[in-house]
Amino acid sequence: MKKTVLLLIALCLVCTPLIFSKEKGRSFEKIKFPPLNKLNLPEPVQADLPNGIRLRTILNDKLPLVNMTILVKGGKAYESVGETGLADTTAELMRIGGTKGMKPAELDLLLDSKAIDISIYADTDFYVVNVNCLKENLEEAVSLLSKIIREPAFDAGKLEEVKTKMAGGIARRNDDPATIMQREFARLIYGPESPFAAVQEYAHLDKITPERVEAAYKGSFAPDNLLWGAVGALQMPELKALVEKYFGDWTGKASLPSYPEAKEQTADFKVAFSEKSEMNQTYLAVGHLGALENLEDKAKVMVFNNIFSQGMDSRLFNKVRTKMGLTYGVGGGINREPLHRGLSYYWTFTKTQSTLKAIKAIFEEIELVRKEPVTAKELADAKAFLLDSFIFRYDSPEKILQRRLNAEFYSTPLDADKKLQEDVEKVTIEDVKAVAEKYLDPAKMVVYIVGKEADLDGKLEELGAVKKIDLTIPPPALQEKIPQATPETLKQGKDVVKRSAEKAYKGYKTLKSTLTAVSTTLVLPQGEFSISQETTQLYPDKSYTAATMPFGKVETIINGEKGITKAMGQVQPLPAEQIKDQRFSDDYNVFRSLDLYSFQYLKSEKVGERECDVVYATREKGWMKLFFDKTTGYILARESQESFMGQTEIARWEFDDYKVVEGIPVAYTSRMLIKGKRVVDGKVTKFVVNPKVQETLFQVSEKK
């Protein structure tokens, strides 16, 4: 330890005169600096318990506070494919799910009343447990911590709270462009299934059960896997006594799957792009998979990163921000991780019209630093900064402890920092060039951009092969699990529908056309909107709808497999999927082409006061649930997956006020609900059976 101190002082003294002897002699350059005062680095005190818990403490008694950090091997790297989010859930649920002796609300209340802050989160390589409390509450904090760590209850209700938050996070993941850029770029480089980039989907939430959480917890939280640091108004004997009291009799061993490897992905593109049309800036990243950290050339990489991309006087900052004025922020670097290959990449954001310009500037700088050696001044400045600022790694006992825990966790030799400083001193111009050549390969680098394509300063193809990345969030799966169909349930289902067809809907046999006028109210956050629409159907496959919207008339025409909408002077084609969906759910088709559907009987259920048979109908890809009134045979409700206001939801239509018009049952009142909330109200104002219809009405052309 003394050696470290002496070396630090020596280096500081060495560097200072070296720099100033070369300068021109500006006023501040003539200042003579006194030697740096002695640095007394407190050394962490060590104690290992028989059951494996490792304790490290540093005294800091300026204030009666204690801060503790526990590193527990485990975390996101160990998640299996399809279980993204399990580590986060485990961490959160340990804290909020209560303990075997304490209900969640009880524990929350007690922690808050004593201002004991306990938090747990999952990082890539480990879980982190943080405790912050006043010295006078230390024993209570350790006691409660022992219950949380040794006997978490994983309350199922709290699991729902965690999942609700996570579902909310999924829904919001495209709201912030910086988040999108980091997430999607990592996915491109690591691959979508790699735990280093996997993105949580709704489908993953379903897989997170209390059993899986408990298994993840058991794999990591064991005495032989706790690296426990404490800094504050306490010393080792006191901490050791408390930990022995509350954790001493805890036994067990951690057991984790093997650590995954980051594998290089073959890219069949040079630039990937995601559309986010409302932006007037793009966010972009340029790079490729990096390397594993190694202590051999760590100093050289540090110097390179400092010169090239880190800080206000770096090459990238000087070029892209200061000289070209293209951005407020640019950065990145050769990033190596201790246990898996990191990402070597550079990022920035700029107004859309200077996107390609910025990308070209970045590539130019990368080419330049690989081709030409850096200047002697750049090298000297970088080395001086790294050496003279080294002291800031140790400028608080908290930082010293953090560095110690990290070094122990990753088995970094405890004198690595000393060696690093020696190595930085030795770095040459050739070393820096060699780093650029070895660790940056512009030919392999891919670009990822998120923004509005139409406003770019050029075509994406100018950079190379283009790949479009769709940001659409895959919707949640069906809420209810449909049991496996059996011959019995299929027959039963078909019988229900046949009965209905013969008894209530026999009018469809001779139906040729209909004219329906509906008054619809949409209930949206913005308010309620009334729309009136009139639909002319010429069966089997033609329809014309004219809707009166707040902003004008909208016409929708379907003719066979083709369809268009006309609104505000614009003509848009209807997606084939939408036409198919509409036809699939139309009563006419249900009752006239029974054999094309599969009808599985599910159960009896009430709709309002009426008992219904619930039938699960499928045809090729689509599905819907139909609720047939057991007495009348009318369809009282229909559930299906629908796209509503840009989201895919399960919509439930309910039908009421049935009247029979020339043999056709018509529900004069209907409503649509999503998650139990009414969003659409409909009232039929006119219904005509077999009106005369002009074929020209269904003309599907591109003309206005």
């Binding site: 009343s113 000087n318 407020y328």
Partner: protein
């Protein structure tokens, strides 16, 4: 009867409140010293000789709220330009450079003069702009970009940055403590001899910053709107970055005049913490900072916000999930009620046992997060108390509003229990003590108290004042401020297409 018990209990409980904490502040207070130069520049020093490092904070008593309409955004522009160097730092030859810079200024003034006309001559503007670009290229040859950063960093500086708010502009960085004189020399030069080089490019950088913080960030946009809606008289209504139109119009002359008026000795306080003695600091302060013009301390802004007598609302339709902000006008940090609002944070939203967190996030699972904040967008003048929620689980902003009003009503009808008050006090105390345990954090509090409350020592009175707050105080606070007539609601709703 209940009320009486409440009163009695309140006087019993302080014993259980953290006793140990108060004892140590005299020790902290003892490490603070101050002195003022002849030109009125005040220095506050917080000594700590445990590590040979020092951190420096220059707190300028000018912010966005001091700006007039047409140059709104200029405090922030000034902040950026303060990194561009001096006649010594950042240039290869200032004499030659100045000639080009002066010409650029003159051309720019002509451009502005032409553009400002009712019928500007576009051709003339274009010609002048080309001339400006050519001059920029010439000027660039003299520039040593970001040299201030280079010089500081090769002497071991870290954390070089600055910030502009409605109330102040602050510059800070840390150095090994034996470089004290370097700091003094360069920091004073920044304010005595600034050169506003690379001005036009830096304006472009600031535009990108505005795009990033506001135009491409739904919540950033919403906050800007809430400010402008909730304030109509007071300058808190305008954002710190300012509108694009101002950024296109501010000139070097504007910045120079602004700097001259505001960056004066009496309008700044300098804070230093770390391994520096009072004698050492006084010596370098007198040597380098005496050259700063005395000037005047800025007068407070004249405009006072007319009391609101109704609810104001603004709703944005964005490509984003919903957000909700409820903003109630609240007092400045110098007012005795301000601390009560800080305590209200821990009753309403901070902590799993807090009212809104428990109701919305835990019980109903209808919110993903809740938060509250006093003194937005500033605390030098009366600002806003914000309650922010993010709906989840299929719930809407309307659902959040309903619950928030219900919970406020509960706080109005019945004072919080003694246990609840104590729990909140303990946690706020914990937060304050954590701040005191970090030198930079503590120094910033001292500077803030000095400027906004008249004396840095007020920082150490907070815990004592906290103990005196009663449940009735909180009830009165809520009754008085959290009323619908004092409220601005800001919402983000997901942009809907009203066609299916």
């Amino acid at each position: 009867m209940k009320k009486l018990i409440g009163a009695v209990l309140c006087t019993l409980f302080p014993v259980i409140l953290f006793a140990g904490a108060s004892a140590d502040f005299s020790h902290l207070k003892g490490r603070v010293s101050e002195f003022t130069l002849k030109n009125g520049l005040k220095f506050i020093l917080l000594e700590d000789h445990s590590v040979p490092v020092a951190s420096f904070f220059t707190y300028v008593n000018v912010g966005a709220s001091d700006e007039s309409e047409t140059i709104h955004g200029i405090s922030h522009v000034m902040e950026h330009l303060a990194f561009k160097g001096t006649s010594e730092v950042g240039t290869t030859d200032y004499k030659g450079e100045k000639k080009v810079l002066d010409r650029m200024e003159s051309v720019h003034q002509q451009i502005l003069g032409e553009r400002d006309k009712l019928f500007p001559d576009q051709k003339r503007v274009e010609t002048l702009q080309k001339e400006l670009q050519d001059l920029e290229a010439q000027a660039a040859k003299f520039v040593v970009p970001n040299e201030l950063d280079t010089v500081l960093k090769r002497n071991g500086a870290v954390g070089l940055n600055a910030g502009t708010s409605q109330d102040y502009t602050m510059y800070f960085y840390s150095l090994p403590s034996n470089k004290l004189e370097l700091w003094a020399s360069l920091e004073a030069a920044r304010f005595v001899d600034p050169v506003f080089r690379e001005f036009y490019k830096e304006i472009e950088v600031i535009k990108e910053e505005r795009r990033m913080r506001t135009e491409n960030s739904p919540i950033g946009k919403l906050l800007e709107e809430v400010e402008s809606v909730s304030f109509k008289d007071h300058p808190y209504k305008s954002s710190v970055v300012g509108p694009m139109s101002n950024l296109n119009h501010i000139s070097v002359a504007d910045v120079r005049a602004y700097h001259r008026r505001n960056y004066t000795a009496r309008n700044m306080v300098i804070g230093v913490t770390g391994d520096v003695t009072k004698e050492q600091l006084q010596r370098v302060a007198e040597k380098y900072f005496s050259g700063i013009r005395e000037g005047m301390r800025n007068n407070p802004v004249v405009a006072t916000e007319t009391p609101q007598t109704g609810t104001k609302e603004v709703t944005l339709f964005e490509e984003s999930q919903p957000w909700l902000i409820m903003g109630y006008h609240c007092p400045a940090s110098s007012h005795r009620d301000y601390l009560k609002f800080e305590l209200l944070n821990y009753i309403l939203t901070n902590g799993r046992s807090s009212r809104l967190y428990k109701k919305l996030v835990i019980d109903e699972k209808s919110a993903l997060a809740v938060a509250s904040f006093v003194g937005y967008p500033g605390s030098k003048y009366p600002g806003l108390y914000l309650i922010l929620t993010i709906p989840g689980g299929g719930k809407t902003n309307a659902d959040m509003e309903k619950v928030i009003f219900e919970e406020i009503e509960k706080l109005v009808k019945e004072p919080v229990s003694a246990e609840e008050l104590l729990s909140a006090k303990n946690r706020l105390k914990q937060e304050k003590i954590n701040t005191l345990s970090n030198n930079s954090g503590l120094l910033m509090e001292l500077l803030s108290s000095e400027v906004l409350q008249g004396s840095w020592s007020k920082t150490f009175d907070t815990l004592e004042e906290l103990e005196k707050i009663t449940s009735e105080d909180i009830q009165t606070l809520v009754k008085g401020y959290l009323v619908k007539g004092n409220l601005t609601i800001g919402r983000i709703e997901k942009k809907e297409e009203v066609t299916k």
